[in-house]
Symmetry: C2
Subunit: 331 residues, 2 copies
């Protein structure tokens, strides 16, 4: 397989070790529980914020641990939910007098691991609340999900909640903020190619040389339909239309626009896509107040992209603009 990998079972631990070695002052790798946490967590003056999910979506979530974002992330193996004992142990390591917030993308496996881990941690005296992210408009239920899937929009929930937690907000206030951001955030993605999990060594699903999948999930779950390849404008127009009409976003709205790459698409193409989406929104009288172009929530090496919108108000804008420090950077 065309990947940097040694033994597939070591893929996630070796990635996490590299991440910690590259960020010795800010990140700590705890191999027993497969977790990455801030070296300065827990901080008794703030709620601890954590997320776990399958690996393979990097930078989500292990590479967005840091000041103003997550206090820790406990990933499972590639495309596998984190085990309940990792959720338990991470929650205990993060226990702060102000409590712990779990952010969970809406997949049945993730919810189960987090529900059970939370119960056990509460029995150990940790105060916990949970935020569910379900921003994907493509389908109403899915292969691994009851209800909508959580995808790239989780970045905005984490960013807003992380900023508020850094400013000292209480646990209930973080739940209010996170639910509010999730409620105004919508995403739809599409795949140009499949992706190759290290342990499988071959593509996760088949997609013909002249085909694409509109509305794909971040684990390759089926979307709305499979069809012939189209040009960039056609694809971006369809994704934008699906997202805009879902909330709906309306003339006069001020939004954050994210073009998220799925892992195998270069940033040149993402900026090309951004330009089209921006113009489509302008044509509908929707103003882009904040722009995000790059990889936020990926599917290993899948070529493809998603479009996310967030309806901004003063509170959300200020939380998104607050400083944050994470491993993923160019400098």
């Amino acid at each position: 397989m065309k990947k940097f990998v040694n033994a597939p079972k070591d893929f996630v631990p070796e990635m996490l070790k590299g991440l910690a070695l590259a960020n010795p002052d800010t990140l700590k790798y705890v191999p027993e529980y497969n977790l990455i946490m801030r070296t300065d967590a827990p901080n008794p003056d703030k709620v601890s914020v954590m997320q776990g999910s399958g690996s393979g979506h990097e930078p989500a979530h292990v590479m967005i641990v840091g000041k103003g974002m997550l206090d820790a992330a406990c990933p499972g193996d590639v495309f596998s939910a984190p085990p309940m004992d990792y959720v338990l142990e991470t929650s205990k390591l993060l226990a702060s007098p102000k409590g712990v917030l779990h952010i969970v993308n809406n997949y049945t496996g993730d919810r189960m691991g987090f529900d059970m881990g939370r119960e056990m941690a509460e029995a150990d005296g940790v105060t916990i609340k949970t935020l569910i992210v379900d921003d994907d408009v493509a389908v109403s239920d899915s292969t691994y999900t009851v209800g909508r899937r959580g995808v790239a929009g989780n970045f905005f929930v984490i960013k807003a909640v992380g900023a508020a937690s850094e400013a000292g907000a209480e646990l209930d206030e973080l739940v209010r903020i996170g639910e509010k951001v999730n409620s105004v955030t919508r995403t739809m993605g599409m795949a140009l190619t499949s992706c190759t999990p290290p342990a499988k060594g071959s593509p996760l699903f088949d997609l013909g040389a002249d085909e694409m999948e509109i509305g794909v999930g971040i684990h390759g779950e089926p979307g709305r339909r499979r069809e012939k390849l189209a040009d960039a404008n056609t694809i971006i127009d369809e994704l934008t239309e699906a997202v805009v009409t879902d909330l709906p976003y309306e003339r006069g709205d001020n939004v954050a626009l994210m073009i998220n790459g799925l892992g195998g698409t270069p940033i040149s193409e993402l900026y090309l896509a951004y330009g089209r989406a921006h113009e489509q929104l302008a044509g509908r009288g929707i103003t882009v107040g904040r722009s995000y172009v790059g990889e936020y929530c990926t599917s290993l090496d899948m070529a493809g992209a998603s479009v996310t919108l967030v309806r901004l108000d003063d509170e959300i804008t200020s939380l998104l603009a607050a400083p944050a420090e994470v491993a993923v950077r160019i400098f």
Copy 2:
């Protein structure tokens, strides 16, 4: 082809338009000369710093225009040097009383375009000096190059020179700094896959399903040899060995270590590779003082990576650590 593209001839202009739309306060797109420049350039109190090269290497160079980096970038079409008149017009637009610095990767086409553009701009009264970047240790001459190729190490030259220019350094001083950084910077890369230029619509070169190319150039130029796929550790050990022994970097050295993705490799794999390279250096008594993991200089959608080392001293460390603001970011 599995790309976000409309008419291939519009690929670069559409990318540049998207880049400017996403960064309206800081970047300006000048379609007549295919250039991206800072909205606040030229600044009469600083030397203007510019680079041009073929497109397809993003974020290099159009996405690293900004405070503390480049004042402008004039790209050519995909894998084509910028035409001399773009170099001329960009130089004139950037004309500052303190002069203009051209940074050029060592490819024959780029050097020709810049030499002729410089001559014409000097005839128009612009003061110009040129810095050549040639950090690639893989081969001594190459398909499009006399001497060594300039690859991902150009990031460090730009970062250092950009920081010094922001602090008011004179043109000769920037040349001294840039030549110094280039002289202690070495890179070698490898390809797991070919890449697909939009205008060609098919892979630029053939690489078998079980093959890789060690020492590949960023336009797919042949490297040292083609061989059977190997595991990540074997690949990274070979790249690191080739880079370390070239300068050479020695026990007691403090270095910046960059793992640069070539466009199609996800960041999970890059951090795995980083961990191995970091350990290999530690085993040689070389300390990593600064870490860079991500995409800096790509080859469209090529899967692969390069390893770069920079030998640090106090001056270089301080220039690399200085603040900079460019489009490529997660926030």
